[in-house]
């Protein structure tokens, strides 16, 4: 498909054109200088930071999501379906790692029985991805075959010099371009190709560029029983920060909120396998110490999930856990340490 461009300084016009008919979310810096996705409104500018603090999974798998309401009176219970079809919306400026994370989550939430609230959000979202001009030292998306220079989604985009380039790659992407056709001009494919080449050269020089995942699907128990887990997990605080910033962590809890007068709201919220209570039953827990809980998280991402999903890893190399872990433990160290065994 054709390539389109708009001066970077004029992006506000593009956002305004889209926002006329649907909500547009983009990374915006807050007062503390942290970038997170926010709904665009006049005056908001796209963050220039590499990535958002929180991942983009919130769009489809929000931290807290109402499931169903109930009314109780004596012995009677009413079940009230509160689900609504999602409205169309645009996720603008998602990076390649986060875009891949949607595929990882799809394998969980769109597997039978389909999660209907996840599905409706997925169907109504248009993803405008943005290539990473300056990937960080903590980035390793290439490890999992993700190309930060060509970030997938419905529209792929690049910042080249003073211009913003876009290429629609799906029908949804074409529909997005149609909406903004009055503010964009045809662009030059060669400029995009040159930028892709430039980014790939940078990617090749990143400190984690040589990190390759080891396919341990045939060695599930061997890796599980590795003596390395003791040392790897020994300092884990069990804070769960890694799971909350992780774009592919999808464990959740289901809880009831008692709103009073017989009104009960059942909601789903993020949970973490790093927590003791995650598997706690009346008779005890099968994962007694932090070692088991730590091991579960990484075994799931690197071995269990790939077994279930044709070798796809449940990590996209975004590097958020590398930046957020208070004890500087992370999936890269785990992969490297386990590799020494292999």
């Amino acid at each position: 498909m054709a390539v389109f461009k708009i001066p970077y300084a004029d992006l506000g016009k593009l956002f305004a054109a889209v926002s006329a008919s649907e909500k547009l979310y983009l990374p915006v810096d807050n007062k503390l200088g942290q970038a997170n996705f926010e709904e665009w409104e006049e005056g908001k500018e796209m963050s220039k930071q590499l990535n958002t603090v929180r991942s983009a999974k919130d769009f489809f798998f929000p931290q807290i999501q109402p499931l169903v309401k109930f009314r109780r009176e004596d012995k009677k219970v009413d079940i009230i379906d509160i689900r609504e079809e999602s409205e169309d919306f645009v996720i603008f400026g998602a990076k390649a790692c986060d875009v891949r994370s949607f595929d990882v989550l799809d394998n969980v939430f769109l597997a039978e029985p389909v999660d209907t609230q996840y599905k409706t959000r997925r169907e109504h979202a248009t993803i405008v991805s943005l290539a990473c001009n300056r990937p960080a030292e903590t980035c390793f998306c290439g490890t999992f075959g993700i190309d930060a220079a060509k970030p997938a989604g419905d529209v792929e985009s690049w910042i080249i010099g003073d211009d913003f380039y876009m290429e629609p790659v799906t029908d949804k992407g074409q529909a997005f371009i149609d909406k903004v056709k009055d503010v964009v001009a045809e662009g030059d494919q060669a400029a995009v190709d040159g930028q892709i080449e430039k980014i790939r050269t940078i990617m090749g020089k990143l400190p984690l560029a040589d990190l390759k995942p080891v396919d341990n699907r045939e060695k599930e128990l061997e890796v599980f029983n590795s003596p390395k887990w003791d040392e790897l997990s020994s300092h884990c605080l069990g804070c769960g920060a890694c799971t909350f910033v992780c774009p592919t962590c999808q464990c959740f809890d289901i809880e009831d909120f008692n709103a009073g007068y017989g009104n009960v709201e059942r909601f789903r919220c993020w949970d973490s396998c790093m927590y003791n209570e995650f598997t706690l039953m009346a008779a005890g827990t099968p994962r007694k110490t932090q070692k088991e809980r730590f091991r579960q998280r990484f075994m799931h991402k690197l071995v269990y999930y790939p077994i279930k999903n044709d070798g796809m890893y449940s990590c996209v190399g975004c590097g958020r856990c590398l930046r957020k872990c208070p004890i500087q433990m992370n999936i890269v160290k785990v992969m490297k340490t386990l590799e020494e065994d292999a």
Binding site: T116, C251, F278, A282
Partner: protein, 275 residues
Amino acid sequence: MDKEALIPQLGVVKEIEEMTPDVKTFRIVGPDGNKLFDQIPGQCGMLSMPGVGEGMFSITSSPTERRYQEFSIKRCGHLTTWLHGMEEGQEICIRGPYGNGFPVDTDFKGKDMLFIAGGIGLAPVRSVINYCRAHRENYGKMDIVYGSRSKEDLCFIKEIQSEWVNTPNCDVWLTIDREEEGWDGHVGFVPNYVQELNFSTDKICVICGPPVMIHFTLQGLKKLGFTESQVYTTLEMRMKCGIGKCGRCNVGDKYVCKDGPVFRCDQLDLLPPEY
């Protein structure tokens, strides 16, 4: 929108039967008085009372029970204590059926069956026992070994004494942990009793009970010459969604709620021992 698995349907507690001092059996139907759904022996249902909690329980009735689903529940926590306080006619939320169930119409068919249960572990095993009794011609000799701490802790004792013992070609072996006045049956732990009974090894074995009972019974069965591929059990893990998504019953590449809870013991050997 399509049907959402996490949204429960409405059930009504039709009857409540007190089994033991801390186990009650709840018979549940739909608001129209009919059975809510069909299930396979060994499958589970997610019961909830809004504002109290939601929990996964094995369906103890056989699919051949056409009137209702039965859940035998031991009082041991927040939700189960609330359920024990319910009266007949209480409306309740229910989701399911969940899980794989026992291969009653395939691997079990035509085989001699040995059922071993301890305490409330009889709940899931009873669904298979009653299925085999209802299709008696499809199965060979039935042996049922059931034990509990004391006489009053034996679940379904009325049904056992009036129906199970009178089933053709079916032997029931009851035991309690310690001697007790008014008990002239066997005394001793289930694993030891299974050893004493010295079963021939040409059987399929279904076992459920406390983890320690399963552990020692399995050791004993192996001594008798059983292989792990003859032994089926059903696992318990904490569950929230019941549909293989929330992550907490994940063991290796399996989700106990969806890929289990029934596993053959040789299949369990291939999984990380975290259950």
